[in-house]
Symmetry: C2
Subunit: 433 residues, 2 copies
């Protein structure tokens, strides 16, 4: 066997990735909706045809990770079996079915000068997606980027390398089949983070960076990136149960927010209970959630009503449990709830349960979070549930996009002016038609 | 006279400015439209009442700047005379007359789960405005920030200190008169840039930084800021005259773009002429613009048609002249024009003059600029002309805002969900009304 060639320095790799991505981005901006959809349909077909190969590559990743000591949820996320490949194929077809945002003219309006002025949706350009174990993100992000006309650099986790390679090769094949540049979605192989570190300063080459994963990864990316970063931070989501709440409804919404899928960012982590209904509500809550194996951790006041409840620590108010654990705090009303959420919330999803219109409106207006809900479960902060279709993640950054990022959030709007020779500050000349 | 106290370290000053701004921002988010408009009307009234005092403070700045050797356009921008104060009062009243974006519900739509989901416009929070000589920016930016519910830190240039002090004191008085916190718009006095340097790393305290001024200032801010920066870079704006253009229209549009106000960012700096009409168009252009005292600087090919034209240097293609100088380049068609603009344009304003629909549509779609125009002067890329009302500046950044930034561009949209107790993935219970 001949020795493998010396690896190129990370800086050169990053420059070459960016050069190819920029060329692909210019082609994608001009690409037709039909060609983009053709590539997405081909992707779904290839996913279904090659389910066994993909599952086999994923098994290699899982075996290596198991040998390296990975366990539980982390290991589960790596897995790509037949059912997950089929779900991925369906997700890609859903993206194909969404309307193409690129080139859409919006609000084109005649102005007193005679021009018509409005906006055209345009792709952002080149997006750097940084994610961890889940290999399905490789195809989901590539599909959303393609439909919104953006080139994407897919910097996945090294644990999923075999599955990511197989998926990105498949996506490249689908792109070529539709006559589109394969460089529209490039996998970034980067076992030691050196390529990522070389990409993050390249403002001008990369329009947007989207990190998805653990808090440490996001912080590192946000600290080093010189281009805009849309962060997808943790969700410490509250439900505030007002004294004017339907307590049966409150029980349902809290249970659903905590139990339906506890390991995700829009799960409810803390319930705030108005002191006037604490004596009535907390025993009901304790019964209902104990049946669902949820551990409650309460403040001193709430434990007066339910002494069986474990005591919450100060740290619990700032923890994303992602588990069957719920913090419980008694508050004196909507002002105290707003104050508590401003201090401990993570700008993700916040819900109020009340029948009083004035309190609902105040909560809606004053809570600073990507999604504020009245009488509904925090679990609804999701692209599909809100009507966006698939999503690139949920932004807790307020600039550019706030909340689930669908196709529109992956575009910008430029101004367009349609004229007939208008000049500013001058009377128009009469011209022949 | 007692010695003046030692100045506080810049870090402490920055922390205190941010603390006050955050408290004001929370109050402004909840403030009524009526109160905000009352403050704006009071501002206009006080501006008119105190025209003489303001002009006097500005004269002190101008005298100091003259003594320091400042000249010409720079000195002129410092000046705040009666006419400019009156223009400022009118601009503030125009902002008061614009609709309040904050709290506006958009696209609220019923979803299959039973919830209604949509967006609410919310203020960004705290905005840091960094600008140079023009003191009127102090009031314009404060007015736009107030109406859009944002607290603003106004870091003006030290040359305009006396005028800026008088204007910000006046604005604070108007805020108090309307029962709003005076800290909604704080002047940042910073003779040595140390406070600016202490503010720029404060991501989390400041949502957005908007630098307006020279390229050096913008570059410095973009390099040091850790929060999102909306850049307002130079405008190297082109007009492409197609071979299917009405040449009379082309002459008008180029003349207007160059001559109507040469010192601004949306002025035309370069004209690209299709080779098939160069022989006919260039002599007309030379005659027309020579009469307006414009110096043309042409490529070799264009000088074959008009030998009297001065030769352009390579550097001219990348220069924002801001003066009666126009670069002229002959190109082989729309592809070459698109290529030239991609290389030398600054993503500001780009116009095509053509009667051919296919070329107009291609230009509109493929040019990456904050405003792309067909058969109209580049001078129309302006908040007022496009229908936004007043503007905070023109963004050449594609994320969050692209082009003139009006009130909407100073807000974000959060999701709101209006429910009746809906839980995700569960059938709704029937409840009593």
């Amino acid at each position: 066997m001949s020795p493998s060639p010396a690896p190129r320095p990370a800086h050169d790799v990053a420059a070459e990735l960016c050069r190819r991505a920029r060329a692909a981005a210019r082609a994608l901006n001009a690409a037709s909706t039909a060609d983009k959809d053709r590539a997405l349909h081909a992707t779904a077909r290839l996913l279904r045809e090659r389910t066994d190969t993909l599952a086999e590559q994923s098994r290699r990743d899982v075996e290596a990770a198991t040998a390296a000591g990975l366990k539980g949820a982390l290991l589960d996320r790596l897995k790509l079996d037949g059912a997950r490949v089929e779900a991925l194929a369906r997700a890609v077809l859903e993206v194909a079915a969404l309307p193409d945002p690129v080139g859409r003219l919006e609000d084109v309006t005649p102005r007193p000068s005679g021009i018509q002025a409005g906006r055209m949706r345009v792709p952002l350009g080149v997006i750097l997606m940084v994610y961890e174990a889940r290999p399905n993100v490789t195809v989901e992000a590539a599909a959303l980027a393609l439909k919104s006309g953006n080139a994407v650099l897919l910097r996945g986790g090294k644990e999923a390398l075999n599955a990511n390679r197989a998926l990105s090769a498949l996506f490249a094949e689908a792109l070529r089949e539709a006559g589109l540049p394969a460089e529209a979605a490039q996998l970034v192989e980067d076992p030691d983070r050196s390529v990522l570190e070389a990409l993050l300063p390249r403002r001008g080459d990369i329009e947007l960076c989207i990190p998805r994963g653990g808090v440490d990864l996001i912080r590192k990316v946000a600290a080093e990136a010189r281009m805009p970063v849309v962060e997808h931070f943790q969700g410490i989501c509250h439900v505030y149960v007002d004294d004017a709440a339907d307590l049966g409804m409150a029980l349902d919404v809290v249970r659903n927010g905590k139990v339906q899928r506890p390991g995700v960012c829009n799960a409810t982590e803390c319930v705030l209970v108005h002191s006037a209904v604490a004596a009535r509500f907390l025993p009901l809550l304790h019964d209902e959630l104990s049946r669902a194996n949820v551990e409650l951790r309460g403040c001193a006041e709430s434990r007066r009503h339910v002494p069986a409840m474990k005591a919450a620590t100060e740290q619990d108010w700032d923890t994303e449990f992602l588990d069957l654990v719920l913090a419980v705090k008694v508050v004196d009303g909507v002002d105290a709830a707003l104050e508590f959420i401003a201090r401990h919330g993570s700008r993700h999803s916040e819900s109020i349960i009340t029948m009083r219109h004035d309190r609902a409106m105040r909560f809606l207006r004053e809570v600073d979070a990507s999604c504020v809900l009245v009488n509904a479960s925090t679990r609804f902060n999701d692209g599909g549930e809100l009507g966006l279709g698939a999503e690139m993640g949920i932004s807790t950054t307020k600039l550019h996009a706030y909340g689930p990022m669908g196709l529109e959030e992956l575009t910008a709007r430029k101004w367009v002016v349609l004229g007939h020779g208008e000049c500013r500050g001058e009377q128009p000349r009469r011209r022949a038609n």
